[in-house]
């Protein structure tokens, strides 16, 4: 089975500083993969490269079987199969419907189809009652659920979640995790979860990639990483020691 993401010898620098140096990553579809690591370990940069938002300096990226050459048409085609939800999701001015419909409108879907898809997505996230609400007046948890509904409305093959519950209360976080699991199991969407929340990664992930200082120091099943970490840095991070 072809991996959804295949990254080889990826290096990314900001100025003189090397922020990412990945030898090899293969991620197969329909899983929940957590990219774990402390702040500044390169998690978000890696996710942005995989999401085709940031260009790598060296190395090759292969997504859904295509080698990335950063051409306009290829970018658009592949980006339309992936969506992203960040920790402070931006809401376009307008109501919840306008926001969830955005991705469908730019794909020039007929209005009737848009309404049906928006209603379905909002229902899935338990947000149907908010369809006419001003998107910028929602609470943090509601906003994240709308952002996930907006991402799901376009039926992506890959959903990136960058610290999706970092700024919301525990109850909303639990709810969002439940939705994430459902999206993966029932819709077959590959989920790339970037987090430094160990408990969340343990609850959700099938596979864990542990990053430290721009490098991938360990990868494995969630069970193996959390119960028998091999690398000293992973062990320290998981045990909450302050060696970092």
């Amino acid at each position: 089975m072809t991996p959804v993401f295949k990254l080889h010898k990826i290096i990314k620098r900001y100025g003189q500083r090397e922020v990412l140096h990945i030898e090899e990553i293969n991620i197969h579809g329909q899983k929940i993969c957590a990219i774990l690591g402390p702040n500044g370990s390169g998690k978000t940069t890696l996710m942005r490269i995989m999401g085709l938002l940031t260009r790598n300096d060296t190395g090759t990226v292969n997504i859904l079987g295509e080698d990335i050459h950063w051409g306009k048409e290829q970018l658009l085609k592949l980006r339309r199969q992936m969506t992203m939800v960040t920790q402070t999701s931006f809401m376009f001015e307008g109501n919840v419907y306008d926001n969830v419909a955005y991705g469908l409108k730019i794909r020039r879907m007929p209005e009737r189809g848009i309404r049906a898809a928006v209603e379905k997505s909002l229902e899935l996230l338990g947000m149907s009652a908010f369809i006419a609400a001003d998107a910028r007046n929602l609470s943090g948890g509601e906003r994240q659920k709308v952002a996930i509904a907006r991402a799901l409305a376009v039926e992506p093959r890959v959903l990136f979640l960058d610290e999706p519950t970092a700024n919301i209360d525990p109850q909303s976080a639990v709810e969002i995790e439940r939705h994430v699991r459902f999206i993966n199991r029932e819709l077959g969407t590959t989920i790339i979860l970037v987090t430094h929340n160990l408990f969340q990664a343990r609850r959700l992930a099938d596979e864990v990639f542990f990053m430290w200082d721009g490098k991938m120091v360990e990868r494995g099943s969630a069970k193996d990483i959390f119960e028998q970490p091999q690398d000293e840095r992973t062990r320290s991070f998981l045990s909450g020691e302050t060696v970092f």
Binding site: L53, L76, T86, I106
Partner: protein, 239 residues
């Protein structure tokens, strides 16, 4: 104080009387300022947005020049247009000096940097966040750029209202290139100067009232065109 109150009374009477001369001056004012605003907006909004969105050589320099010209003294703008349109100037053959067209040109010079500079600023303020969101939802570069401009519309409206405020209140440039000719290039601001010099204080106050009402009406109209700006004009809650 009595002079001011008396002036206000007489000024209101003047407005109420619908003096044909005042109406004519008001119409010239509107024609000049709104034409200048429209042309400056047609040039300034796309250019400001493009400068904010695209990395082109000389972009920073152009933006710095634009920001500098935002504070261009009106009389200097008038002088520049005067030198270009005077009979010995490069466009002298068109004989535009002391016509409403010359006044419109001078006012474009004043409004363009404000509209272009403020549009660039407002687009720059949110480009990455909006761009990332749009693109990750499948927008093409063009669609994402449009989303950024759409999300910046509050700032663009603010740029338009700021420019309009400067145009309707401006006297130096229109006086210099228009000449304050009765029935042709006399506008509200130059009339106020003239009436004050002639000791017709109440008439000057009346024209001033008309000027204020026009400014207020146009700004309300622009805001009504974008209903949401009123909604978001609610103040910050400080407790």
């Amino acid at each position: 104080m009595d002079i001011i109150i008396q002036g206000l009374k007489e000024g209101l009477m003047l407005v109420w009387s619908m003096d044909p001369k005042i109406i004519q001056i008001t119409l010239v004012s509107l024609q000049v300022s709104l034409s200048a605003l429209l042309i400056a907006a047609c040039l300034g909004i796309p250019l400001g947005a493009a400068l904010a969105l695209k990395e082109v050589p000389g972009r920073r320099l152009f933006l710095n020049i634009t920001y500098t010209f935002m504070g261009l003294p009106p009389v200097l703008a008038g002088l520049i247009v005067y030198l270009v349109l005077t009979t010995r100037g490069p466009l002298g053959q068109f004989q535009l000096l002391f016509t409403p067209t010359a006044m419109i040109c001078a006012q474009i010079l004043l409004a363009f940097p404000i509209i272009c500079g403020l549009t660039a600023r407002t687009v720059m303020a949110q480009r990455q966040e909006v761009y990332d969101t749009a693109v990750t939802l499948g927008a093409s570069r063009r669609q994402a750029a449009w989303a950024i401009i759409r999300e910046s519309r509050m700032g663009i409206i603010a740029a338009l209202t700021t420019a309009l405020g400067r145009l309707v209140a401006e006297v130096g440039a229109v006086m210099l290139v228009g000449g304050n000719i009765e029935g042709s290039t006399r506008v509200l601001t130059t009339s106020i100067v003239l009436e004050t010099r002639m000791g017709e204080d109440s008439r000057a106050i009346g024209i001033g009232i008309i000027l204020l009402v026009i400014s207020f009406s146009i700004i309300v109209l622009i805001n009504l065109l974008e209903k949401r700006s009123f909604k978001n004009d609610a103040g910050i809650q400080i407790t």
